[in-house]
Each structure stands twice: as structure tokens, then as C-alpha cells.
Symmetry: C2
Subunit: 339 residues, 2 copies
Amino acid sequence: MKQKITIKTIAKELGVSTSTVSKALKDSHEISKDTKEKIQAYANLYNYKPNHLALQLRNQKTKVIGVILPKIVHHFFSTVISGIEDGANKKGYNIMVCFSNESYKKEVETLKVLSNGSVDGIIVSVAGETLENKDFNHFKGLVSEEIPFVLFDRVVDEILCDKVVVDDVGAGYKATNHLLENGRKNIALITTPNHVNVGALRRQGYEKALIEHYIKTDRDIIVEIDEKKPLKPQIAKVFEKEIDGVFAVNEIYAANAMRIAKERGYTVPKDISIIGFTDGLISEYSSPSITTIAQHGFTMGQQAVDLLIQRIENETADFKPKKIVISSDLKLRESTKTL
Amino acid sequence: MKQKITIKTIAKELGVSTSTVSKALKDSHEISKDTKEKIQAYANLYNYKPNHLALQLRNQKTKVIGVILPKIVHHFFSTVISGIEDGANKKGYNIMVCFSNESYKKEVETLKVLSNGSVDGIIVSVAGETLENKDFNHFKGLVSEEIPFVLFDRVVDEILCDKVVVDDVGAGYKATNHLLENGRKNIALITTPNHVNVGALRRQGYEKALIEHYIKTDRDIIVEIDEKKPLKPQIAKVFEKEIDGVFAVNEIYAANAMRIAKERGYTVPKDISIIGFTDGLISEYSSPSITTIAQHGFTMGQQAVDLLIQRIENETADFKPKKIVISSDLKLRESTKTL
């Protein structure tokens, strides 16, 4: 596809501001006849097609930020929303949250709805299906239309935009290392399919910790959960081998692993230590309570919205995408207590 | 305030459709000169002021539904969103969710953002502060602008609109009665302040059940939680008296009551039976698992969005607000098991 010429390019080439270009193209009386003619001629020459939606987006500030999340019922995303809300409110913005339900089609549709001028910018965590398909044209469209947007948590390297991520490799390493240092040797991993990149990265951290302790990865005690099938039988599979530790990449997997361990007569943490991910209420209210890797969703949300608002409010600045990496902490609870 | 004349009134008075009125007022070529003159004269006579936002809302379908919720992190509201999503998707609508954070000001602002033409209709559960202040002019504005909207769960009787509610008195009665029939006599109630009407209604059900069993209400074992203060010491207060049952109006209160009971050496359910509200994951994964009143949030969401879409798509129909009452079920688990 031929590179589309944008208002920004015209402004740069002719040494004027983007707002001058925008006004000139709308034949505004605020701009001198000479400048208008020059800009309009240049735009014609390079076949500039105004993107009306993007224009509207740039010119009519709505003071609203759109957010697209892959899931509705998920504690981590709730805390991210709280962080986005908090950061947005401090700067006088409201937020609108939409859900892709992990569907590519829904994500494309929702992006269209939000970028029709109802919001000043968009924050997205990418849908599972999109990551699987590797079709990111809808995001590339945002980039070329110069619509401010930020990806968080589930990000895609090849999209040039601001990003906020958790240090997932580090988190997986921290969790596994904690179990190893407590003397655990046969540590099961309950993770997502490989195309969900955060799961893949946490697995790298898990494998790194094992290697450092000279332990060979055992494929039989690693399970990639298919969310379309019942959870429990899939998790139960790792209990067919002798295990003394479980690292689960979210708290629902961890809580289910604990249930199965109890049902099979194990005592947690005496016989098996369990560690989850996302510091939600289930981990806190489980009995025993579950040690987790706290993802700092609130901080992530705040950072994402801060980046976005900077982008919205400094439009003429040079575009150099930023990436913020948030490190995660171990939240020690009963399920990994050393006895 | 003088009653504002609307397109609907003009249509009714002149025996034409609302779309004819709307087109005539915009001087559309689709309408005959005679009809246009008649309608425009009538509008002038009664000083009709077109509400451009409302007009835009009516004329430009966005196929988007706005939702305003009082809280972000709350399992019940998550299930309601799922239900709204499901119902909306089936009819080709997308949803956008905003949060009032229990604040009156935020609710008014958000309502303004959504009713500026970005959505075809709005679903709201009223903020705590609004219920406390009893200032409902922002909702009355929606009614007079004929913007389709539905209230759910936390509704206000005096606003003339469609409503979806849970049978809260019945639910409180069911929960308390279940404890009484298991031989419990000193049943604590952990509820919200009285201005949150759902809490007040559940309390009515609690008191009704006690009366039927000839038990006098004991003010010392009823606590109205102030969400701005730490939860645990407030709940602990009811344990200063001899109690053998707890009815909590949400699952966080119930889970905390169970913790306090355990810390004080009680065994649940042998010594104390506990029953919560909202069938969330905490109740399911607690140990022992907690009996709850399932609110059917998913069904509520579906019903709310069905009512709204009917209203959006049949604009000329006579307006008679509907109220749907959803009954709730007891979900028996370990915390009230009879031994």
C-alpha cells in the first residue's frame, strides 16, 4: 500500500504548523490566501485525502478516552480500569470502556466505533484471537491516521505506538525461583496457549529459573489451558505425576489447582506450594490464601493514560514511541509458607 | 419550569409521524410544502426549540449503547455487563461502559458525554451519592429529551422510565428464612447505609422473616457499613454479641464475616451459618464455600438491554414505562450446611 500523506507530513514539508494545514485545507478565513493556496496545491499534488473522522478527532476535543479490553470478568483488568480512571480524572478526562471478548471481529468493530470522533485517544489490550491471527491492520490504521493510542499488557511489537507492559519474563522467573528456593523441585506450570504472548513470556521466566537450578523442563507437568474447554480436567493432568509445586499464570488456575490438590489429599503448603498471578480477591480470600505475583494493574492503567494524554495534548511533537516496563512483586501468603 | 414541547407532541397534535415532523423542521425536500408550513408554524407558535443533541441522537443511529455503573471492581456489575453485551450483540449493537464511582458529579458528567450523540440509548445503575442527595434532574432531563434509557438494580421510583430490578425484599426474606429454618436464632445483618435502596429492601425482607418466626430485631447485631472506613472492625462489632448466623448483603462482607468468625475460634457452619449475596468467585473459592443469594446479573443485563432496544427501535409507540422484577435464588453451599 502506498504511504498515505498526512497533515503532519504537509506541515513538516512546508514548515508550518499542523493546525495551519488543517485550517487551510478547510479553507478557513484565519489563514492567508497565499498560505492556503500553497498548502492546497501541495495536498493536491500528493493526492492528500482528508480523513474526516481523524480530522474531527483532532479538532473537536471530546475529553473522553476509549478503552478496549479483551475480557469483562477479570480482576486484573478491573484494577487497570481503576488506574486509567484515576489518571484520566486527574487531568479532566472521562473514560469509556468497551470489550472485544477476545474476538478479532469485535475488536475491529469497537475500534471503528471509538475512532469515529467520540474519543480523543484509545487504550487497548489486544484480543486473544487477534494475537493468534497476527492481523494487526486495524491498529496500523490508527497509526497512519495519527490517532493517539496506547497498548498495554498484551502488546504487539510491530505496531509503532506507546506501550505499557509488565516484565513478564522477570515475573515468571521470580515466581519459579521462589518455589525452587523453598526446596521445590517438580514444579508444574499452568499457562495459556503460546500465542497469548504474556503467557509465553512468563513461561520463558519459568524455564530460565529451572535452568539456573539445573532442572530439566518436564513437558508432562506443563499444561496450556484451552479456555473453551472445562478447566479442572485440564489442570488435573499435571497431578498425574509427582509434583511439589505449582506456578499458575492467573489466580483462577491457581485456585483450581489448590482445589484439586486438596481433593487428592495433599496439604497446601506442606506437600505442595502454589503460586498464582494477579493479586485479586480470590487469592486473598482462599483458604489457605494464595501467594501471587502482583501485576500492579492500577499503576499500569495510570501509566497508560498518562502516556496517552501526553500524546493527545502534544500533537506536534516528534513521534517516538515509548515503552514502559513495570516490574512485578511477589506477594507472599500462606500457600507457599515454609514450615 | 414550563413543559418543553417535543417532536412527539407536535406529531401527535398534527396527526403525522415523528419522522415527518423532524424532516419538516429541517426543511427536508421529502416533505410537501403544505405539511412543512403547517408543522413549522405549529412549532413556532409553541416556541419549539430543537434539541440538537437529542435530534442527532434520534436521527443518526450509532448502534451503540451506553452503560453507567457505580463501581468498577464488583462481580455483580461484571455479570450484568456480560448480559448487556450478550443481548446487545444479538441485535447488532455495541456497548460502551462508563463509571460514576458512586459520585453524583461524575454521573451527571458521564450522562452528558453519552447523551451528546455517541449512543442510541443508555442503561444506568444509580450512584450512591445521587441516591443520598435525591437530586434526579439529570435523569428527568433524559426523559424530557426522549432519550431512551433504562435503570437497573439501583432504581428511583419517581423517574418515569423502564426499570429492571431484583426482588430484594424477597431475596432478604429467602436468605434469613433459610437460616431460621436451620435453627439459627441470633442472626446478624451486615448491610449498606439506608439510602442505598437495595440494602434497605433486603433489610425489610430480613425483618419480615424474623417477625414471622416471632423473633425481635436486635439493633446491636445489625451493622450499616460505611464503605469509606475499614471494613473488618465494622463487621467485627456484631461478633460482640452471641450470634449463630450472619446474613451479609454482598459477598465481600460475607467473606470478611467468615474470616472474623474463624479468627474468634468459631467453626463455620457448625457454630455459625453464613449467607452472602451475589454469586461471585469469592463465594465459590472460599473455604468453606459460601451460600449466596444469586442475583442473576446476566439475566438482568439481558432484560435491561432488551427493553432499551425495544424503546430505541419503536420510537413512535406510546410511552408506558415497564418494570421487570427478577426473582433471586438461594445457591446452597458449605457455609450453611446442616450437620
